[in-house]
Subunit: 876 residues, 2 copies
């Protein structure tokens, strides 16, 4: 088994064993670019190191030494040599880039003798001793794990003694003194001298880099970026080149195109007479890469040529590191450059137009999630940087919101009416009654609730910025104050800003810039639609949202939640009247008062969705959600309902449930109160008939929620069909409508063959299905799931990405049972997962017809659908 | 297709088409017993009648007339005849007995002429006119649906006019007058004369009996007794015989053995000169059948002979009706007699000993549910009959409880300490904190909650009588009053009695008799155990319950709920201290205080279960269940915990959950607080080691609840194994213990192959599995499931009998996945379903190892297990 590869032995496709950096160094070597010589110790050596209880196998050590010998041969330099010593860098490099997470040691190979040789050869004693003290410091930190501060203090001491402020003001002799003190400190800490043998330094450095794979920040980074712990890192050992060896030297980083905008123009910066770490440290201000043209024209020209070669070779925008040593250009790294969404789109489309990649390849160049950046207003970058974070919650719904603080939906609405344009609504938690207030708010802040709390779900649906679960602040609704953990108090009307992408809360106004979509966006999305097999519909409850979604490319409504329509002031009154009605007659009376409104809602949706299907879910939440809960509110409502307080209070109490999620809701309401389903059917069908008269094509789909047994659906469908057919007959119409069901109860998935006999379509309600399959209440789970993530029991939030092993098994089962009985059954998903990339790939694989998601996720879902097809059919 | 069968054409195995009564009349005819001649219109004719929109097919009518002709030939009588008229009875008779639910018409065939002939032939005008007026009255009611009262008023009028009180005081002429007025009333109501043609009467009567299959009380009876609507009823048309034709006539009912005790002795009663309905009407007091020996010795002797013939023939105790007409005995019905559980056992065992049936057949003669009657104290029958029902709730836990009324667990406990022996605890609803109070109570009454509410489940577990969901009463805890719907108020200390078998509540003391088990019980249960394949374990949390269960034949503990052990005063204090602990150290401190108690609990269980496995479930309920919720209680607790009220209140608030059933509970607690699992492991293992020292065989099984993912179980199992192995090593012991899991989350069933890699046993928690598979909160579902039963959407309570189609599919899936990975995996069920007969049959079929149920259901489960094997292996 081979564990070490010279750069000349590898290529770019060997990332799995050489890591990204190593594979690309090998590739550049292969295509003849100027790369300092070196070799890569493979990721397999790293895994072997861990498998053997963190010891480096003797054979691997021997293989490293063999490669050092070869390196000595090709460079003509020798480790520990008095005349022409070999100095190397030792750098980590995993399969996937983990910038800054693991360790690096430079200048390896220096010892008490080599430092003198180096001083002599470069004729620069200061430089040589500076390299030596950097080596000792890095080695002590990385290999031995001694505190950095021990050495930093010593360095500061000398600067004080010499009375200088800048490092560069220290003389060569000063640095000799630094090295002496460093070596003494090393001896004190390590109880042994700093190793003088370059080979010892090298093996220790390689092991240390392996170990750094499992440091805390690397583990966290992997968890956040879904990088498996099992990959391991490679180690690159490379001859040192020095950008800091005089004014004819330098170092820099550059992108072949602008990573912020995608513009086709070299983008980068460099420093003359400096090492890479100086660029990062920010001690000197780097210069724009353009200026290199004048200072070192031939290097610049060569670099430009290399840029073109690399872009053509990798067929992607490159992010490169280079060093110039005494007028000679060396490439130290190349990789596909990270970029903003706007740049990614721009570059992908340009590459297709330039004939470098296919449309399919272009679709792979933009991550669906990146599109989100393009769809919400953003903070002005500069203003944001100068603002102070006063609290941090969950990044529940992206966007940048700034406005005046209000504590109740009612206050927010009043302020809105009185002309306050930008409002931030802060609540302990939101409830359906807050919807109108949320609707006019720029952003919503809640103290309780997770990523899928009411506030978060509704806000994402609305495309409103939301920070949820901000438990560090105290919201006092009575006093109308928000108090931060350090005691700062904000009052009604004060400015507050929320960053829905980070969860940061700011106690001031921050400038925002509106969402802008680059010209390449439309082109790109057309290509996505050409490839995609899954249709994308939207979850929308009103014409405004439906319009946004249709503009974003939605092909129909997959979920219209009718209950959201009942929270308007006039309707909620009648709806409550319905709930408290003492008998069926009174209930029907109240429902009849709601009917005209509900019909108008549907007409609006049908008009916007001309030609597309509109799936309307019948009343779903438990009735107690529509009633007030405090005595004061009950007293008030009792007066307007002309009931006694006690009577209404008793009604409220009797409707209370221990586990409302599993209570009297969904189709269970239609079983108890068929008159509600009858009213909703009448509203859907009459709306459809009236809009059809306007020359619009209407395809209503009535969706019965929370079905668990075919007899339930049979019962409710009978009620719907009877009413619908009566109206259609009365109007001599030939309107077609469908009746289908949500599959959101585990039992419904298990009995999908029986249910498909009644249902013309299935829509997977994966929110509830996930809740019930796991037994996780989504409103409560965030409290304990954090312990699951901390203990690596879970790595993903099952409410964000569908759990394919468990919930997905039920979905796939239902699909196959459903198709067996009704081969042409329409199959969709309308849970929050409908907008998630991985879930969409799963939906494509198991053969769903469409996914439905919130309007602002429609473009993301369209791209994800295209990507799903590419992956599942292995098209590229 | 043949629709009508003469009695001589049928036999006892034709119940499906002839109904039970018809098949047995045919059988008795076949074996030569004296049965009045007749024929049966089949259940298929009934179904045909319904299929044809409630019209009687002409061919069926013709077939009926053909059989009337045959009947006329064999009897020598003729319908509508002036000389020897044929009179018949028309009686319903379904496949399964539905006593009194459907309609009957007697004396059919009388008209204005026949009545005179009858008077002449019997020389009894009074008798003839009494028969006629009965026919008109029954016909008007059954065939035409006219109110009975119309005729009853007329009858009372005549009695008033004649100034008599008893019907029998009316003269023949009076009855002629009655008939005249009846006919006039019939004409007024029907707008036509009472039909004079016997054939018309007959066809109308047959149709009316068919219709009575679907009257409300028949439908309700079928729903309660699981009789399918699709069976239909047969109609028996039979020559009338008259027990009321003089002192040489009579009628009676009898059982071949005592149906209350099972004693082998004829049991019955009769009336001289009476018709069957007179026995039922209770106008005269019937005489003991023994006295017939003296009055009509030959009839008695013949009847005794027939009893023996029938018992031998049917191989079961018979319930018979007979009539003696002018000294001649006629058998009108025989069927297997209904009997008490005690009698059923006694008779079954006697029949085996008499060599009439096999042991397997004997096991089929006692319904498992019947045994319940033998296991709880019962009300003294006489005292019960004279008591007044003041309210009615759900028959949640059987038993007869009488005692003094208390409104809080605390008050009940205090009263108990002060010597009040019998206590009835009445609560709005119970919570885990009430357990001690429930434990010492004779019976528990709750206003809210269903058959599976906390009160019901716990009460059944304890074998305590419970009436739940008694919504007709108002319980005021503050005022300590219970108010019935008609305003009657009961105070603390007042007597109250509960019948847990009927749900009746009585406002007085009622005498009870302790449970007595007849000598045959043990014999019978041995036979059951010989046949059964499933083991029966018990759900028990304390040595007392465990002892009861072991005495009832339990082979181990399938579920010990450790949380029940924390409600003792001293423990709950430390447990609460644990919950509110500000850090892990304080938490461990509090847990250490609980450890010795918990260890003692386990020692007690291990001792009782010497030789058997004891399955201990680790802490399951959400922590907020252990904290008080009212401000007053919180304030009190805060003082003893040395916290501020606000601090504790905040803690209580922060633990509140929207859907606690799906919240922070089960193994999720162990993930967050591994120290709890560590303490419980220590308690189990040290208890086992100490009891082992006493020479007792201990087999502890640690059960991790609410697992949904193998990684969860892996995490918790590691914690358990580490602690357990440490203690076992320290003690140089070779103690074996198992770690397994509940399968109660749908996802666990789906992933059972992965979970079986970690779990040494599965125990199906079908309560929670049912909740999650259906999405039904068991505490809330009773509110809407009533509408499901009313609409025939559901016919069974899924919390009582396992839903095999849905939940059962998941259980069977988990069994097969689990066995695939671990062929010797132990599989049990510990939900409430574990004691249900149908569920036990299912468990046997899919290959479970054991069922676990509450102690008082152990004998029931043992019998059900035997029955399951008989059925599933088709052994008889």
């Amino acid at each position: 088994m081979k564990y070490v590869y010279a750069f000349s032995e590898g290529n770019k496709d060997m990332k799995n064993i050489l890591g990204g950096k190593g594979a690309n160094l090998a590739e550049m070597t292969k295509i003849g670019l100027p790369v300092p010589k070196g070799f890569t110790v493979s990721t397999e050596a790293c895994l072997d190191y861990y498998n053997k209880g963190m010891t480096l196998d003797e054979n691997i050590a021997l293989e490293i030494f063999e490669n050092i010998s070869k390196l000595e041969n090709v460079t003509g330099k020798k480790l520990n040599d008095d005349v022409n010593p070999l100095l190397v860098s030792v750098r980590s490099g995993a399969r996937s880039s983990m910038p800054g997470m693991m360790d690096t040691i430079l200048n390896l190979g220096i010892n008490d003798q080599v430092v003198e040789t180096l001083a002599r050869n470069t004729n620069n004693k200061r430089f040589a001793y500076d390299c030596y003290r950097r080596l000792i410091q890095m080695y002590a930190d990385v290999v031995r794990g001694f505190p950095k501060s021990s050495f930093e203090y010593l360095f500061e001491d000398i600067k004080k003694e010499k009375n200088v402020t800048l490092d560069t003001d220290l003389t060569a002799d000063d640095l000799v003194e630094v090295v002496n003190r460093y070596k003494a400190e090393y001896l004190r800490l390590a109880k042994e001298e700093f190793p003088q043998d370059g080979k010892v330094q090298l093996l220790e450095a390689v092991k240390a880099v392996f170990r750094s794979w499992n440091n805390e920040r690397a583990k966290t980074y992997r968890r956040l970026n879904n990088i498996p712990d099992s990959w391991g890192t490679a180690v690159n050992v490379q001859e040192m080149v020095y950008g800091n060896s005089g004014d004819n030297s330098g170092t820099g980083v550059a992108f072949t195109r602008n990573p912020a905008t995608g513009e086709k123009k070299l983008f980068g910066e460099y420093l003359i007479n400096a090492q890479g770490e100086d660029v990062v440290a920010g001690i000197r201000t780097p210069q724009n890469i353009e200026t290199l043209k004048d200072i070192m024209p031939s290097c610049y020209e060569e670099f430009m040529k290399i840029c073109d070669i690399l872009e053509d070779h990798y067929k992607d925008m490159q992010d490169m590191e280079f060093t110039i040593e005494n007028g000679k250009l060396y490439m130290l790294q190349t990789r596909n450059g990270k970029r903003t969404a706007a740049a990614a789109l721009h570059i992908a489309v340009d590459f297709v137009l330039e004939g470098k990649i296919t449309k399919e390849e272009a679709l792979r160049r933009v991550e669906p999630e990146q599109l989100e950046q393009l769809l919400h207003p953003a903070f002005d970058k500069e203003s944001l940087e100068s603002a102070t974070v006063i609290a941090k919650g969950l990044a529940a719904s992206p966007g940048a919101a700034t406005g005046h603080l209000y504590f109740t939906a009612e206050d927010a609405l009043n302020a809105h009416k009185n002309g306050v344009a930008k409002i931030i609504l802060a609540r302990e938690e939101t409830s359906p009654e807050d919807i109108e207030g949320m609707n006019i708010a720029e952003g919503v802040l809640t103290v309780r609730g997770g990523m899928t709390s009411h506030a978060a779900v509704v806000a994402r649906g609305m495309g409103t910025c939301c920070v949820s679960g901000c438990s560090g602040v105290v919201v006092n609704q009575e006093a109308k104050t928000l108090t931060t953990s350090n005691g700062q108090v904000f009052h009604e009307g004060d400015f507050l800003s929320l960053d829905g992408a980070t969860g940061n809360v700011y106690g001031e106004e921050i400038k925002t810039v509106p969402a802008s979509i680059s010209g390449s966006f439309a082109t790109f999305m057309t290509w996505a639609d050409d490839i995609a097999r899954l249709e994308v519909r939207c979850n929308a409850d009103n014409p405004k949202d439906a319009k946004v979604a249709r503009d974003f490319g939605a092909k129909g409504i997959g979920l219209c939640r009718t209950e959201h329509m009942f929270f308007d002031k006039m309707r909620i009154f009648n709806f409550r009247k319905m709930i408290v009605a003492p008998n069926k007659e009174k209930r029907i009376e109240a429902l009849n008062a709601i009917l005209p409104y509900q019909k108008e809602d549907f007409k609006g949706l049908f008009r916007v969705m001309d030609g597309y299907e509109v799936t309307i879910r019948f009343l779903d939440p438990p009735l107690h959600e529509f009633l007030p809960h405090t005595d004061e509110e009950i007293r008030e409502l009792a007066v307007s309902l002309e009931m006694s307080f006690e009577e209404l209070k008793n009604k409220v109490e009797s409707l209370k449930e221990f586990n409302p999620m599993m209570g009297h809701r969904g189709c269970r309401l239609a079983v108890t109160y068929p008159e509600i389903a009858i009213m909703q059917t009448r509203a859907v069908i009459t709306a459809a008939l009236e809009v059809e008269q306007e020359g619009i094509k209407v395809s209503p789909e009535i969706m019965v929620p929370l079905v668990g047994d075919e007899r339930e659906l049979h019962f409710v469908k009978n009620i719907i069909d009877e009413e619908a057919n009566k109206i259609i007959r009365e109007n001599n119409s030939s309107l077609k409508y469908k009746v289908g069901t949500m599959i959101e109860i585990p039992r419904a998935a298990i009995r999908a063959d029986f249910i498909a006999k009644e249902a013309e379509f299935f829509s997977f309600g994966t929110n509830d299905l996930t809740q019930l399959t796991y037994g996780f209440s989504r409103d409560d789970a965030s409290k304990f799931l954090k312990d699951y993530y901390a203990n690596n029991i879970f790595t993903k939030d099952p409410f964000k990405t569908l759990d394919q092993d468990g919930v997905g098994t039920l979905v796939a089962l239902a699909v196959s049972l459903g198709k067996k009985v009704r081969p042409d059954i329409s199959l969709g998903i309308c849970g929050e997962h409908g907008g998630d990339k991985e879930t969409i790939a799963f939906c494509d694989k198991i053969g769903l017809t469409y996914v439905s998601c919130s309007p602002f996720r429609v473009p993301i879902a369209r791209l994800a659908a295209a990507r799903a097809r590419l992956d599942n059919d292995e098209l590229i």
